[in-house]
Structures are given as C-alpha cells and as structure tokens.
Amino acid sequence: MPLVKTPKASFAQKLKRFFFVDLIKGMGLTLKYNLGAIIDKDAVAGKGIYTEQYPKVRPDVAPRFHGAPRLNMDPETHDTLCIACNLCAIACPEDCIDVIAMDVEIVVAGKPRRKKVLDEFIFDTSRCMFCALCQEACPTSCLELTQDFELATYSRAGFVWNREMLEQGRETVKYTS
C-alpha cells in the first residue's frame, strides 16, 4: 500500500483525537436531528422532515412538468385544436406519434375546398421519453404534456393512447388509506 504524507499532529489535535472529539461531534449532530424531529411538534406534518407521503398526499408538480400527453380542445366549441399538420410526429425523436388525417370537403366562401381534418391520433406512451419536443413543435398549442404522471397500466396495449383518451384524459388514480 503506498503511503501518503501526513503532517505532524499538533498537541491540540492529538488531544482531540484522544478524547474522540471527531466521533462525538458527529454523534452530536445526529442526536440533534433526532431530538429535533421528536421535539418539533410540526415534524410529522412535514416541517423539517422531507418525506412525501406520496399515495396519501399527491405531490404538487411544477406547471411546466412534462407528464401525460393531452390533445386540447377549443373550450367553447369543443372542437379539437389539432390541424393534423403532422409536425409533432416529425419532431418526435422516438416516432411514437401517429397522426391520421382525413380529407373533408367543406365549403369556404361558397367554394368547395378540401381540408385535412384529424381522424385519429395515436400516442405510444411506452416509447415516449417526455422530452416535450412535440409540444414545442405544435403550432396550435393543441398537443400538451400535462402534469399527470401516473401512467402505469396492466397491459402493454394500455400504453398506446388513442384520440379519445388523449382528449378526455385518464382518470386520476385514487388511492385509499
């Protein structure tokens, strides 16, 4: 074992080591924490204690959190905001978005015109890495990553979200006890 240089100890240092000051200081700190947690009346409520009692108390996630995807709808007409431009699918590094559009004939100013309308929107959350590139690519702020983070399902198929799920959102899981 190679040796390392250690400077010569001063008498005070030796004395400190002799009386185990180093260990006692550490022990004192842990004792302080322990007593603090016991004496502090608010300890259990969460002050000074950093535990999150997750299923019991849902944590507040930040407004910018990238969670479960959602397709936003116009709050008044309840029409989808999606214009089926496919930009999100292009921007996605993981290719987990499929935008299926259909052509509809509509009449604009008396002239019949063809317009691309969203038919189905497939979002594979099992492959998504929540990088939010799709959200940034969306020109109409339709596709949004929400703050819902409980995405577990019992089957692999459950990870593939269709348009209905994306628009309605999933039911938030409720935990008892």
């Binding site: 250690t6 400077p7 010569k8 100890a9 001063s10 240092q13 030796k14 080591r17 002799f18 180093d22 260990l23 550490g26 022990m27 700190l29 842990t30 004792l31 924490y33 322990n34 603090g36 947690a37 016991i38 300890a43 259990v44 000074g48 204690i49 950093y50 535990t51 009692q53 019991k56 006890s177």
Partner: protein, 431 residues
C-alpha cells in the same frame, strides 16, 4: 398490598392442583419463560420499529407511517409478510444445516434470557451460580449459526460472510469476557442477581468504578452482535448480505430476530453488570412500605429503561458512523480491546489491593463488608471512582503508546491539505 394480588391468587390456585415443589420448580418457571419469550419477541419486533423510526428522524424522514397510526403495526405486517414469503433453499445447499442454522441463532439468543434478572424476586426465571459465564457461553454458541449458515448456503458471498463473522465473533468474545472481570472483582459472584444485589447494597453503579470496562464491554458487545460500525459479516455494500445472502422469508426473519435478541441480551448484561440492573435509589422504599409486587414491577421498569438507553446508543451509533474495514476490525479487537481489557484487569486488581491495604495498614476505613460483594465506605467509593477515571486515562495513554506504529488507527492528525488555485483562464496549467 392489594395491588397485583392476582399473582398470589394464582399461586394459591396452582397449589390447590399441584404439589408445592411442582409449582415452585416447574409451573412458575414455565409461566415465566412464556412471559419472557413473548415479551422479548414483542420487544424485538418493536425494536425494529424503533430503529426504523429513529433512523428516519435522524435522516429527516418519517419512517413507517402506513400501517396503523404512525406505522405502529408495521412490525406485525412485516412479520406476516415474512411468514408468507417463499422459503427458498438453494439447490446445492446442505439442506439440513441450512434448515437448522437460524434456529441455533434464535435459540442461543433466547436461552440467555433465562438468567437475566429483569427485576427482584419473581422477575427472574433462574438465578444460577454461573450466570455471567452462562451468558458468555451460550451467546458464544451463536457464532456456530452464522458460520454454518454461511457455509451451507454454498455461495461465495455467504461463505466469506460466515468466515468473517466467525473470526470477528471469536476475537471479540475474548475482549468481552475479559472486560467483565474488573466488575466481577467488586461483585464477588457470577450470579447476575448477585451482581445487582451487590450494587444495590453498595448503592452504586459499577460504571463508576469501571468506566473503561463499560466502554470496552459496549464496544465488544456491538462487535459481537455484528452491528454497525462493526457490521462486516453482513456489510451490504461489500458482501451483499453476508452469511444470510441466500436466506429468505421465515428463516431470514429468524436471523433478524436473533440479531435483535442478541442486542437486547448485550444491553441487558451491560445494564446488569454496570448500570446496577433493576436497582434504583429509593425504589426499595416501596418494598419497605409493603408493596412488594409493585416494587418488583417498578424495578422491572427501571431495568427496561436502562436497557433501552443502551439500545438507543446502538441505533445512534449505527446511523452515524461509517463501517470499519475487516483488517481494522481485527486490529481493534486484538491490538486495542484485548490489551485494554488486560490493562483494566490489572488496574482493577491494583485498586482493590490498594483499598484493602488502606483498610488494613493505614486504618482508613474503606471496606464495610464483604458479604454481598465488596461494600465500600464513602472514602472507599471516592478512591475507587478516582481509580476508575485514572484507569480510563492510563489505558488510553498506554494503548496509544503500544500502538503508535499502527498506521490504521493511530492518533493521526486531521489532514486537510487541499489547495485552492485560481488558474488564469484559457491556459491549461499543471500545478
């Protein structure tokens, strides 16, 4: 007097069905054993809860909170979970030994409780001649469980853990036994109740006479129980789980129980020998006023409180200190604890000699009597306490001198020689 009359009523009831001798020698001990085993098992279960809570509070966490109020039912839930888990036996394990090792561990830990004096009179199962020797002997059998478990699992980590633990426990047993001898010189008996009685009649705790012995006993006890900072046999960061790597479910929980029970044993012995056991000033007034059973109960309570304080030290140390390395552990055992225990024996013997000499030659009254341990007068006590403190210091200095060459654990300085340099920007530098 009427308080706790049921005990007497039960005694009368039993006497109606059985002969006097059967009741005295057979039925009451059985009842006591049942009570003690139940209580100790409960205490062990809640020691795990306490440990988890204490560690949580030290670490700014909450600990178990889900099962019952403040997680109070957690130990029971854990026990149920462990009971229902698969009892896995590796294919190439030695089945029989793998089966029996946990039982040896639990048995060796629980048998010791038969001689622990939890209190006066009926609060102790058996008061045997060789109480302290029996404690040491039976708890030394616990090593077998560990080494057999490690060997029979047929796994390298388990074997290494088993070998480590056997080496560790065998070496620390020596220090543990030797450190108790100083206190025995004052108690003059091996019976644990006798030791408590000696301290009670002298109205002193032997920790005052023997601070060095107490420290050594505590350290070697912690090492003997494989608890941090000496938890080498099951160091999870090195040996995965040591000797119980391959154990699961019930058998694993038996090992767990054995560990905690052994901890309670060490705390109980430390309390008995050094902290006066169930003796506490002024509690005997209860006996004088005739509340015998209440007196016993309060004594038991005193004992439990004292033991709990030492148990807290266990938890406290575990959650503060890092772990030793294997060679350092052996160093501490052989180069520090055993020599210091020997020095302590010599110093205590010298102190006793000085006391006797003062009593005999100089005519200073130091010894009151020798019937229940060594009863000292106030002068004698003062001299003894001074000797105890001096012993602590002398032991430390002597050991520091003996081991000054030892690189691992000497009085090394704090080394804080890192430099801070502010290198000019844009220029790779070599300092």
């Amino acid at each position: 007097m009427l308080l706790l009359a049921p005990v007497d009523v039960l005694n009368d009831l039993l006497l109606r069905f059985f002969s006097d001798e059967t009741v005295k020698y057979f039925i009451w001990p059985l009842i006591q054993i049942g009570l003690v085993v139940t209580l100790v098992a409960l205490w062990v279960a809640y020691a795990t809860y306490l440990e988890r809570k204490i560690s949580a509070f030290i670490q700014a966490r909450l600990g178990p909170m889900r099962v019952g109020p403040w997680g109070l039912l957690q130990p029971i839930a854990d026990g149920l979970k462990l009971l229902t888990k698969e009892d896995f036996i590796p294919e190439k394990a030695d089945r029989w030994i793998f089966f029996f090792a946990p039982y040896i561990a639990v048995a060796s830990a629980f048998i010791v409780f038969s001689v622990i004096p939890f209190g006066p009179d009926w609060a102790v199962i058996a008061d045997v001649n060789i109480g302290l020797l029996l404690v040491l002997a039976v708890s030394s059998v616990g090593v077998l469980a560990l080494i057999l478990a490690g060997w029979s699992s047929n796994s390298k980590y388990a074997l290494l853990g088993g070998l480590r633990s056997s080496a560790q426990m065998v070496s620390y047993e020596v220090a543990m036994g030797l450190s108790l001898i100083g206190a025995l010189m004052f108690a003059r008996t091996l019976s644990l109740s006798g030791i408590v009685g000696a301290q009670g009649s002298d109205s002193i705790w032997y920790i005052l006479y023997q601070p060095a012995g107490f420290l050594m006993f505590l350290i070697s006890g912690i090492a003997e129980n494989n608890r941090a900072p000496f938890d080498l046999p099951e160091a999870e960061s090195e040996l995965v789980a040591g000797f119980h790597t391959e154990y699961s479910g019930m058998r694993w929980s038996l090992f767990f129980m054995a560990e905690y029970a052994a901890m309670v044993v060490v705390t109980a012995v430390a309390t008995t020998v050094y902290l006066g056991g169930w003796y506490f000033p002024f509690v005997y007034r209860l006996e004088e006023s005739g509340y015998h059973n209440l007196y016993v109960l309060v004594s038991v309570l005193v004992f439990l409180v004292k033991a709990s304080i030492i148990l807290y030290i266990y938890f406290w140390l575990r959650w503060t200190l890092p772990r030793f390395r294997y060679d350092q552990l052996m160093d501490i055992g052989w180069k520090w604890l055993i020599p210091s225990a020997l020095i302590n024996i010599v110093l205590s013997a010298f102190a006793v000699f000085v006391l006797q000499a003062l009593n005999g030659w100089r005519g200073i009254q130091t010894i009151e009597g020798l019937d229940r341990g060594m009863n000292l007068t106030a002068t004698g006590k003062g001299i003894m306490i001074a000797f105890g403190l001096a012993g602590l210091f002398i032991t430390g200095v002597l050991l520091a001198r003996i081991n000054w060459r030892s690189r691992d654990f000497n009085l090394k300085t704090q080394r804080r020689n890192i430099r801070l340099v502010n290198v000019p920007k844009g220029k790779p530098a070599r300092a």
